[in-house]
Amino acid sequence: MRDHPDSRPGKTVRPASRTAAHGEEHDDELLARVAKGDATAWPLLVDRHLVPVVGFAWRLTRNRTDAEDVGQETFVRLMRKAGDWQPGDASLRTWLYRVATNLCIDRHRAANRMPVASETEIDSGAEETADFTRDIDIARAVQRAVDRLPERQRRALTLVHYQGLSNGEAADVLEISVDACESLLARARRALKADLRDEAADLLGED
């Protein structure tokens, strides 16, 4: 998981695809073992990447069933790809997010629908505390604001902020230039600041 230096109290750690930590096998090495039929390598890849891929798909589809379907199909494709995987061509997580992005786009087109924020899913992981209701209200407001972003801005922001990719990696996933990706990110953050300025300030109890 990407390390996010935490300079503020209350900041949460973002879920992100893990790259191989020190002492762990690199994704390319695990894929090579999978290609040779080694059943012990695959679960390591699944444990490393399934959670962030499904989380990413959920952020794009806002639907848990769709997210799980996208996650499963992404890994089915990875299994089929294992034998042809060329180390160094692309990072595995970039490849996974590109496949998942395309699957989400396909589902979106097929269903011809906009993502709908689920009021019941937003509380995952939250504990019942005195601040619970306020936290949920804030999260819902933020989610609605993110959902209002243009699709391309939302994908770029999700890849960088929530999945922990660098701007360059996100550009690779979206198959656009780094400059174009950074333009999307800047516009997304400006739009969110404007959208959330009044609402979030009110929810946070600020003047």
């Binding site: 996010h4 230096p5 300079s7 503020r8 900041k11 949460t12 973002r14 879920p15 999978v34 290609a35 039929g37 080694d38 059943a39 012990t40 695959w42 679960p43 699944v46 399934l50 959670v51 499904v54 989380g55 990413f56 959920w58 952020r59 848990r64 997210a67 799980e68 996650g71 499963q72 199909e73 890994f75 089915v76 299994m79 089929r80 294992a82 034998g83 042809d84 899913e121 937003i122 995952s124 992981g125 939250a126 936290d135 804030i138 999260a139 933020v142 989610q143 993110v146 960088v160 902020h161 929530y162 701007n167 950074e182 990110l185 800047a186 953050r189 969110l192 600041k193 959330l196 979030a200």
Partner: protein
């Protein structure tokens, strides 16, 4: 955080507040993600400018707000199904002594099976084999004949092995007949097995009682052991 150079107001003057705002909007509030060549000037400006610090506070607040939305984790069923896609070659749990591992559970067994099949096995047969060994065996492209092949997806746990098996037997005329596709095993494994190739091209499956259903429904309604015929 590296703060070398922060004490030099001159370096801070190399960046305007507007430029700093652009960095925050493009790269986020975490200085680790900033371009190396601009980080020092940005940090210097932050050290000397209240306006710059106001920009930082605004960016950090946005990151904090974004972090309030957490994504759900995959269900245990999905995790099991995806882990079950593992190739069936080397196993993480040794087969208990006294029990021979069926040849169709091994990659070597598959290689042997393929070599014994009159070239070629039907493409459909190879397709479903794909989940098990598709990456080590090329698709046959010539010849004629019938083929009966099995493929397996397995999930090895600490105490047991769950296995799904699909048998494909396609006539050389390319027609599907009842009994050509037989699958058995835990529903998630069977679904994952068949989805690899059939799901995109086969819109429905017919159960042995004649009912036409989708793949997942076919598998789940019959408790994980079905005799299904792909409807084309």
């Amino acid at each position: 955080m590296n703060t070398k150079g922060m004490s030099s107001p001159e370096r801070g003057a190399e960046m305007s507040v507007a430029e700093l705002r652009q960095i925050y909007e493009t790269h986020g509030a975490d200085p680790v993600a900033w371009p190396e060549e601009r980080r020092k000037a940005a940090l210097a400006l932050l050290a000397q400018s209240p306006a710059a610090r106001a920009v930082r506070a605004e960016a950090e607040r946005l990151d904090h707000l974004l972090d309030t939305v957490t994504a759900p984790k995959p269900s245990p069923g999905l995790v099991r199904a995806v882990r079950a896609l593992a190739p069936s070659g080397r196993r993480s749990t040794p087969v208990p002594s006294g029990r021979a591992l069926p040849t169709w559970l091994t990659v070597a067994g598959w290689v042997d099976a393929l070599s014994a099949v009159p070239r070629p096995a039907a493409l459909a047969a190879m397709a479903i084999v794909g989940i098990g060994i598709g990456w080590i065996a090329p698709h046959p492209t010539d010849g004629a004949g019938n083929a009966t092949l099995q493929t397996v997806a397995s999930e090895t746990g600490d105490v047991s092995t769950r296995t799904a098996v699909a048998t494909v037997d396609e006539d050389d005329d390319g027609d599907w007949n009842e009994g050509d596709v037989v699958v058995s095993g835990p529903a998630p494994l069977v679904t994952a097995l068949l989805q690899t190739e059939y799901a995109p091209s086969v819109p429905a499956w017919e159960l042995s009682d004649g009912e036409s259903v989708g793949l997942s429904q076919a598998v789940y309604e019959d408790g994980g052991a079905i005799d299904a015929l792909p409807l084309e």
